[in-house]
């Protein structure tokens, strides 16, 4: 009894405390989600206090006690929002916008491989409200949960927004063949424009520096895509979109140009446009309408410098990096014939009217899915 006994009894307790301390230290040392990492810190700093906040920042979960707490007065100093050639160094936030009709796992995998700091990336999707869209949403949400909840901290994105479109796409089928019929193009691209604008203007927020338009069927890009495009420090810049395929005759793996919407204007195209009615649009890549424009797709040179840059009059939207201020000034994707141009091509024209120029990188390739 007495002192000897009490000593004996407390010793396991000391051990327990010691071991727990060891575990804590161990976890602190190893855990990538340590509070001390820069990523976590920036996440903390950017977190907003309520779900009404700009969607590009995460928010703290609200305790629902039935009482409404008035949101605070928040100042956004937009004079300090920059978009420069060194986006990583200047900690510039980027918004990746994707109109999603079908979900491809390769697209998500490619996204995860991007080397741009993920805590500076916000993803936003707009998905039609139909059967296909529901399936795509489910698949997307599964991947999001995997990444954001249980994935490594380093790969988690700052914020993710899923929007369901408030209008029906004009075509029931989104098959590649159906999609590219000329008569369907105008309605399809007008609807696409509306989707793009809806997504853009509800997610842009006050702190975004760059907007990357990335189609859901872009399945392969260099991992440093954002840095490489931003490096040129141009208001609008577009890489060359190709497609990999297997030649049916030789069974060889080959690649071919895919996106013909990036071009330099021609006099012939202007002439055709001048004769058109106010609602008609010029389309690229159709034999019925020979525009003789200089297409960036055909300017790719084997072994050429990927940093080569050319000015453009129309851009494609498969992969497209835009400084946020271009969109903020009002440059959007016209869902109507704007100088006989629509969607991304109309966007280029509108940006030009606002004093922003577009450029293309003919030797810098990204790859489109092959159906």
């Amino acid at each position: 009894m007495g002192p000897a006994r009490s000593l004996r009894r407390s010793s396991p307790l000391t051990i327990v405390v010691g071991v727990i301390l060891c575990i804590v230290i161990f976890v602190f040392l190893l855990s990538p989600s340590s509070a001390d990492t820069a990523a976590a810190k920036s996440r903390q700093a950017n977190a907003a206090s309520n779900p009404l906040s700009p969607p590009t920042s995460p928010f703290r979960k609200q305790v629902d006690n039935g009482k409404r707490v008035p949101p605070p007065v928040v100042h956004y100093k937009m004079n300090n929002v920059t978009s420069t050639g060194d986006p990583v160094g200047n900690r510039e936030t980027i918004l990746i916008l994707t109109p999603l009709a079908r979900f491809y796992q390769e697209y998500w995998d490619n996204l995860m491989k991007l080397t741009y700091p993920h805590e500076l990336i916000t993803l936003a999707f707009i998905i039609p409200k139909n059967r296909e869209g529901n399936a795509a949403t489910a698949a997307l949400q599964e991947q999001i949960t995997k990444t954001q909840k249980t994935g490594p901290e380093k790969l988690r994105f700052a914020s993710i927004i899923i929007e369901r479109q408030d209008f029906e796409p004009p075509l029931a089928s989104q098959g590649e063949h159906e999609r590219h019929k000329m008569e369907n193009q105008k309605a399809r691209r007008a609807s696409m424009s509306r989707a793009r604008n809806s997504l853009l203007f509800t997610t842009l927020g006050p702190s975004t520096s760059w907007v990357l338009w990335l189609d859901a069927d872009i399945i392969e890009t260099p991992p440093s895509l954002i840095q490489d495009l931003a490096f040129h420090d141009e208001p609008i810049i577009v890489p060359n979109c190709f497609q990999r395929y297997v030649d049916p005759k030789t069974k060889e793996k080959k690649e071919r140009p895919y996106d013909f919407n990036s071009w330099q204007d021609s006099d012939q195209a202007k002439e055709i446009g001048a004769k058109m009615g106010p609602d008609d649009i010029l389309l690229e890549g159709y034999a019925e309408m020979a525009t003789y424009r200089t297409l960036m797709a055909y300017l790719y040179a084997e072994g050429g410098d990927p940093k080569d840059k050319i000015p453009l009059d129309g851009v494609g939207g498969t992969a497209l990096l835009v400084k946020a201020e271009v969109h903020r000034d009002g440059a959007m994707f016209p869902p109507f014939a704007f100088y006989h141009l629509i969607e991304t091509e109309g966007f280029t024209k509108m940006a030009k009217r606002l004093g922003w120029n577009a450029f293309g990188l003919p030797n810098y390739r990204v790859y489109h899915y092959n159906e």
């Binding site: 727990i20 249980t150 408030d166």
Partner: protein
């Protein structure tokens, strides 16, 4: 408590001597023996073993789900990373739920209220009194302000007023999300009335205004908004129910009529916002002749468009619910469905169909087949700010008024002075006056008597004389009477 060990009742179970008479009651706990336990060494070994198992499981789980989960379990959310785990990063919105309906307040539809500000310090308090009075549920309205290139205290005053608004005791007073966006565009155009409304400055001014509006909207529009309301801070009078009133029409874009009160010398009131109009053939023809970057602005003689203006169609007693289709809209008070802006309609900061800013907005909305209407008989009142001409005129009027006052004062002074000077002689004057009057009366009476006699004589003579001479005689008589009367009246009127 009864002792359990009756057999050893007299024994010392815990080293303390027990009193023999107190066998029935004791509270001492020392009488109980600890349960027989395994040797301490074995216990310790067991404990270590258990701990090792927990550690192993923990590590295993940690490698399977690398992340913050273990840490947060271990730390019970007390250390800072627990907060990180609390962050919500995924948002889901169905845009078909935010289309905007006629009775938005019942469906809890959120409105984004946008107000671009520049050097607006003097109007802010008035604007906040309007904010206090809105009847639409405040928590459903999100406020967004863009403060640009302000040289006065707009920004500090704005945040001060907003903080006070959000901290209001009345739970119905605070608004929803509040954003103050600070962005300078380096505008060189002055904001005073003259430079604001001069014709030459209009095009570039309107383009800059459009840019500011677009920056504000793109930064503040969220996927949960059903409506967007643009409101200038210099509206003086507007119905408290304006949001509901406009919403009830269930149009894509809707504007009220905007007038302003004037001083009386300018006619009492005047149409203010001339940017809400219906397109005319003349204007379309004019547009075709202008170059790509030209901007048609209303209200200037340089562009005679002959458009029907919403402002001029106002009837003070007209039906406030009457609608009119318009093509250009003014920006003083626009209620639009958020889907209009989501579709890409914005305030062109370039010449869109020869128009910019809010007029271009109306044109673009029409281009995308949205309904754009104005309410000619539903009026809100813009603040009256006198123009340079008005100010000059008012200065002139003020001068005039002062001159008149001065004159009157002088006259008054003069009279007073005269009175003061002659105050002693006044009674003497009166006496003299009556004396003169009496004399005059006497004289007059005598004269009248004489005249009567004369007339009598004349009459007699006339009766005797020939009838032919009567007319000239009459004339002479008349003249004589007049003269006499004048003479008689003279002394009466003179004293003053």
């Amino acid at each position: 408590m009864l002792p359990r060990h009756h057999a050893k009742a007299d024994a010392y179970s815990n080293g303390y001597p027990r009193s023999k008479d107190k066998t029935t009651y004791s509270i001492s706990p020392h009488r109980f023996q600890p349960r027989a336990s395994p040797p301490a060494l074995r216990r310790r070994r067991q404990l270590l073993f258990r701990l090792c198992i927990i550690l192993a499981i923990g590590l295993f789980a940690f490698f399977i789900w690398p992340g913050a989960s273990i840490l947060s379990i271990l730390s019970l959310g007390f250390i800072s990373t627990g907060e990180d785990f609390q962050l919500e990063t995924v948002r889901y919105y169905d845009l078909s739920n935010v289309q905007g309906t006629a009775r938005g307040w019942e469906r809890e539809e959120r409105i984004l209220l946008c107000a671009p500000l520049r050097d607006a310090e003097s109007h802010l308090r008035m604007f906040f009194s309007h904010l206090h009075n809105f009847t639409y549920p405040h928590h459903l309205i999100d406020l967004a302000f863009l403060v640009s290139d302000s040289k006065d205290r707009t920004l500090p005053l704005l945040s001060e007023l907003l903080e006070a608004l959000q901290a209001d005791e009345d739970p119905k007073m605070p608004y929803g999300e509040i954003s103050i966006i600070e962005k300078d565009f380096g505008q060189k155009v002055n904001q005073d009335v003259e430079s604001r409304h001069g014709f030459a400055a209009q095009a570039s001014r309107r383009k800059l205004m459009a840019q500011a509006r677009n920056w504000l909207l793109s930064a503040a529009l969220r996927p949960y908004h059903s409506w967007v309301y643009w409101r200038d801070v210099d509206v003086e009078t507007a119905p408290f129910t304006i949001l509901e009133d406009l919403m009830r029409h269930n149009k894509d874009v809707i504007v009220p009529n905007v007038w302003r009160p004037l001083p009386d010398w300018l006619g009492g009131e005047q149409p203010y916002d001339l940017n809400s109009w219906q397109e005319s053939e003349t204007a379309l023809a004019l547009a075709d002749t202008l170059d790509e970057d030209a901007v048609i602005v209303e209200g200037y003689a340089e562009y005679a468009t002959w458009r029907p203006h919403l402002a001029y169609l106002r009837d003070p007693y007209g039906d406030p619910d009457m609608e009119m289709d318009i093509d250009g809209v003014g920006g003083v008070s626009i209620l639009a469905k958020a889907k209009v802006f989501r579709s890409g309609v914005h305030f062109p900061a370039f010449s869109f169909q020869k128009h910019a800013e809010t007029e271009g907005f109306g044109k673009m909305a029409k281009r995308m087949q949205f309904s754009v209407v104005g309410l000619p008989h539903y009026t809100i009142w813009h603040l009256y700010e006198p123009s340079v001409d008005d100010i000059r005129h008012m200065e002139e009027m003020e001068e005039e008024r002062k001159a008149r006052e001065r004159e009157e004062q002088e006259k008054l002074d003069r009279v007073k002075k005269i009175k003061d000077q002659f105050v002693d002689t006044g009674s003497q004057w009166e006496k003299d006056k009556t004396g003169i009057q009496n004399e005059a009366m006497k004289e007059k009476k005598e004269k009248e008597k004489k005249e009567k006699e004369k007339k009598e004589k004349e009459r007699k003579e006339a009766a005797a004389a020939a009838a032919a001479a009567s007319a000239p005689d009459e004339e002479a008589r008349k003249a004589k009477t007049l003269e006499a009367a004048r003479e008689a009246g003279k002394p009466q009127g003179n004293p003053q």
